[in-house]
């Protein structure tokens, strides 16, 4: 929906929000002489959970920013349902959300207002319908009692769940997650994994999850990609990841602690 539209529309039902596919074509990004993404090409199928793993600094978050159109690539492109993500009208064709690593909640707004911002700004539904929708999302993520709280009053796990709830209010067809389980305890990480899997089941949302959480990839992903040094070195199912042939993938997923020859001393 265009940002300048003045008429009010209703919320869509799950059936009216078909999942979308994502095509990454020869995507490269450089900052000066630093090449962060090198010729990435892959596809994410509609309704799929695609987990992109890789060590810190491998370009995962940069990829996400390109996938949602926050940055322009040096070359190549990202297509969502055939539309270039940098196209002016892309958000009229596809509703997509990004769950930021730190939540990126609006600190000056309460949790309720954070969630209600999108429908209010885009004039989706009446205030009563917005309240119902927001409370439904908060309930779905067990956040009912946080509606009047401010982001600064919430724990890290709650902030992540509020960020997911805020994205869900947008009725996304594509949802991207940036390190959704980082800085969380194992139980909260498992909860977030369950939420991502449930959302796919319940709302048929296509999900791209950037993470270095192996458990998350193995438990909920349909396919996993591994990014190293800006290149996609592996793409396959979680099962095939259990016995990887590439030694770099094996070392990344099951790093052995070698006190005789520590990594930080290797040349």
């Amino acid at each position: 929906m265009p940002a300048t539209q003045t008429s009010t529309r209703r919320f869509f039902s799950a059936e009216e929000s078909p999942a979308v596919g994502v095509t990454v074509e020869k995507l490269s990004k450089s900052y000066g002489k630093l090449e962060v993404l090198k010729d990435l090409s892959f596809e994410v199928n509609p309704g799929e959970i695609f987990v992109l793993m890789g060590p810190s600094g491998s370009g995962k978050s940069v990829f996400l920013r390109h996938a949602i159109g926050l940055e322009a690539p040096t070359s190549g492109r990202v297509l969502i349902n055939g539309h270039d993500v940098l196209g002016e009208d892309i958000r009229e064709h596809v509703r997509m959300g990004l769950v930021f690593q730190a939540g990126a909640l609006f600190n000056s707004l309460s949790v309720y207002d954070n969630l209600a911002l999108y429908p209010r700004e885009h004039r989706v539904g009446s205030e009563k319908q917005i309240r119902e929708r927001v409370m439904q999302m908060l309930k779905l993520l067990s956040l009912d009692d946080t509606a009047d709280k401010y982001p600064s009053d919430l724990s890290g796990g709650m902030r992540k769940r509020v960020a997911i709830a805020r994205s869900l209010v947008m009725e996304p067809q594509l949802l991207l997650y940036d390190e959704p389980t980082s800085e969380l305890d194992p139980v909260m990480s498992a909860t977030i994994d369950e939420i991502i899997a449930t959302l796919r089941k319940q709302y048929r949302v296509t999900s791209i999850v950037v993470s270095h959480d192996r458990d998350l990839a193995l438990s909920i992903a349909d396919r996993v990609g591994i990014l190293m040094g800006g290149q996609l070195i592996y793409i396959g199912t979680p099962d095939s990841l259990k016995h990887p042939e590439d030694p770099r993938v094996a070392d990344f997923l099951n790093p052995r602690i070698d006190l005789e020859h520590p990594r930080f001393k290797r040349t």
């Binding site: 300048t4 159109g69 959300g97 990126a104 909640l105 609006f106 700004e121 004039r123």
Partner: protein
């Protein structure tokens, strides 16, 4: 060479931001957008009023004192009212309001928007298809355009009264308020007050635009937020002085009605 490039990039970026913000002004505001406008009017107008009042009262008083001291030697004290009246209306009122706006409101705008940018709140708005220019910039620009005339007129009136009180209670001036306001009314025309309001509008608009632009282009962390705030205030102050010259030149070339 790099500095010239930085300045030109800043001008281009501010211009783009202005055009984007203006492009959203054509739609009917929702009640939420209207609420944001009211909030900005409150922040820009109401919360700035006390410091504007105090400063302009003192400026008016000091102006009367200084001019009284100079004019006493050739017995022209009766014209202090016109001097203070014109100085406040045409120059000091709008200038002081703009300087206070840059220091008090402009710095706060830059700090808030820079903090939102650094903590990815602005990115979140973009992903939600809510243009930052519409939600964050337009209400501030509209707010300053509504409030600058109000603040400037109040600054003028308070400054005139500051001058009148000093004239009455300073021994070597001893001009009573009736005399003071009589010459003020005789020499200060509506055009003088109107020109001052126009200047204030121009200053306020550019201060807010520059502060928003610097805030939204901040990258890095808390150190960069501090640098951005300092830069916004310095650029605003220089801009006010430069604009003052050009707006004055244009306005005095336009004949009064």
């Amino acid at each position: 060479m790099n500095q010239i490039r930085t300045i030109l990039e800043g001008v281009g970026s501010a211009l783009r931001l202005f055009l984007r913000a203006v492009s959203y002004a054509r739609t009917m505001p929702s009640k939420w957008e209207f609420a944001r406008l009211i909030e900005q009017c409150y922040v820009i107008g109401y919360t700035t009023l006390p410091i504007v009042t105090i400063l302009c009262f003192v400026i008016g008083g000091v102006l009367a004192l200084q001019s009284g001291y100079s004019m006493e030697s050739f017995g022209a004290q009766q014209f202090i009212g016109s001097l203070v009246g014109l100085s406040m209306a045409r120059e000091l009122g709008p200038m002081m309001v703009a300087i206070l706006l840059a220091g008090r409101v402009g710095s706060a705008i830059t700090a808030e928007l820079a903090s939102m940018t650094v903590s990815q709140e602005v990115d979140a708005l973009v992903t939600m298809n809510i243009p930052p220019a519409r939600m964050l910039v337009l209400p501030r620009l509209a707010g300053v355009l509504f409030m600058m005339p109000v603040l400037t007129v109040i600054a003028n009136i308070v400054g005139w009264f500051g001058g009148a009180i000093v004239c009455k209670y300073t021994g070597f001036i001893s001009v009573n308020p009736d005399q003071y306001f009589s010459t003020l009314r005789k020499y200060v025309k509506f055009k003088d007050i109107f020109d001052g309001v126009i200047k204030a509008e121009v200053f306020g608009f550019f201060v807010v635009l520059v502060c928003c632009n610097i805030g939204l282009n901040t990258r890095g962390g808390s150190r960069e937020i501090g640098i951005a705030v300092t830069r916004a205030v310095v650029v605003s102050l220089v801009l006010i002085l430069v604009l003052d010259y050009f707006t004055t030149k244009v306005l005095i070339s336009i004949p009064g009605i």
